[in-house]
Amino acid sequence: MSQPAMINRYRWYELVAIYCGIFVFLAFILAPFVEGFLVSLKPLGLLFSSPYKFWPQNGSFAAYKSMWVSVPGFARYIFNSFFISSIVTAIVLVLVVPAAYAFARFKFRGSGALLAAFLAVNMFSGAVLLIPLFRLMRSLGVLNTYFAMIVPGVAFLIPSAIWLLRTYMMRIPRELDEAAFVDGASHFYTLRRVILPIAMPGITVVAITTFIGSYAQQFIFALTFNSKTEYMPLPVGLFAYFGRQEVIWNELMAASFVGIAPAVILIFLMQRYLVAGLTAGAVKQ
């Protein structure tokens, strides 16, 4: 048992090299956040002065207060983002839980091809299908409503959700279904009373990843299918603000950080599940 410990023992210069490598890597990943945060603390005058100064002098959290006035719809944008993501997640789960169970358990003619077809949806981004989707939304009469962002959003989150949940459900022993079936339980009863309770952790992971995916990717549909300020999700609401001639950068950054906060808190709480969910599909069994 001491062998793995021995093999992983680093010499001091190896340790230094590894930490340097990690530092460089994380510096690239985190630089925009660090810079964004410092910008949110700088007064506007300092922001627009040369030469460039990295650290804020007489920095303050003033922008975090004034932004609520400058971005009037801000609270509404955050609510919209949450609302849209929640509804999207609920619809995805309703559609995906039965489908994933079917793919995990039943082999029938064409099931492999059908699964491949579902996964192929991932190939197309919303941008490619934007024109017909726009016409479809228009003829459904949902342009400029929440549905214009929810309906297409769901479709592009279905494939990975099916894949994740199917992987999870395949690990549930088949004997459980068979025992229930032998006892005279119907298929629906087995799914509802035997499989669903056991699959709950997997369903939770799928719900979290779907929610985060939806929260992170609200842009193109919201930009194209909705022009009403009161329905805009956070990214598009801030984009309208970003596009102005005179951008009040410290407030924009402050608003971004407040908008990011929910997602970051979720990561820290759920990171174990996230990594588990991601790796479930990653490694061949």
Binding site: I22, I29, S49, A102, S125, L129, V154, F242, I260, V275
Partner: protein, 294 residues
Amino acid sequence: MSVQRSTVIFAWILLLPALLYVTVIVAYPLVDTFILSFTDASLKKTTNWVGWANYDKIFNETFAEVIFRTFVWTFFSVSIKMIIGVFGATMLNAAVPGRALFRVLTMPPWIVPMAIGIFMWGWMYNGQFGMISGMLQNWGIVDGPVAFLARGETAFWATIITDVWIGVPLVTLYMLAAMQAIPQDLYEAAWTDGAGRFYRFRRITLPLLVPSLITMSMLSLIATFNSFDIIWILTQGGPNGETTTMIIDTYRTAIGSKKYGEGAARAVLICIFLSIFCLAYFRVTSRLASGESR
């Protein structure tokens, strides 16, 4: 026999809602794009069949440039993502104190609303007051301010770097998972035989990562080819169209100028390229799979 049939029927009932949804929201629009590409659809009430006219119109010099640019952009973005991703995964795979925290710190670009990360890059690229230009001036590397997004060449690379930044966390965590799936006894056997750390990495880790590397580069290729938000927020395809990729070009034509027919023809071309990538992917993975079973 009837049990078998009722099972199949049950399976189809379970699949039906998702199937219907994807058919209406993805498959039907796909077919519609194809049909639209042969019409002059626009905001007008009437739509006429125009045959290949849209395709004739787009095959000109600027469009060839757009296709070429898209491929160059995608190639560099995917390659850099893979290199940084494997580097990051190797570092995070080292058994050093603090690695659990480092893994969490890798995730933000992937999990935070994409548009917001891009706003931050937008500021960093600002020539007058942004961090990159400012630091370069303070260190005396450049003389005056560099407005990265205002000049064609720098804008091209700036959008690539931002795309890399958004894609790296997923690549890193995926490659990390693949590294951890490599049986530990392989390393121990090599270690017992006196193989050094670099030798083990080169001869065990890298070869065993090849299947995951191929999978991830293909997934990344498809996502990058479709990349829209980054370029749209940073440059909207400018300056002078130097960051206009196929997706941006399609969006401008279809949504900006409301030329649905011409936009659809461009979208069809994108779909054709994506299908070629997918076919190549299936060919490669099935060959890998059959190689494994040998």
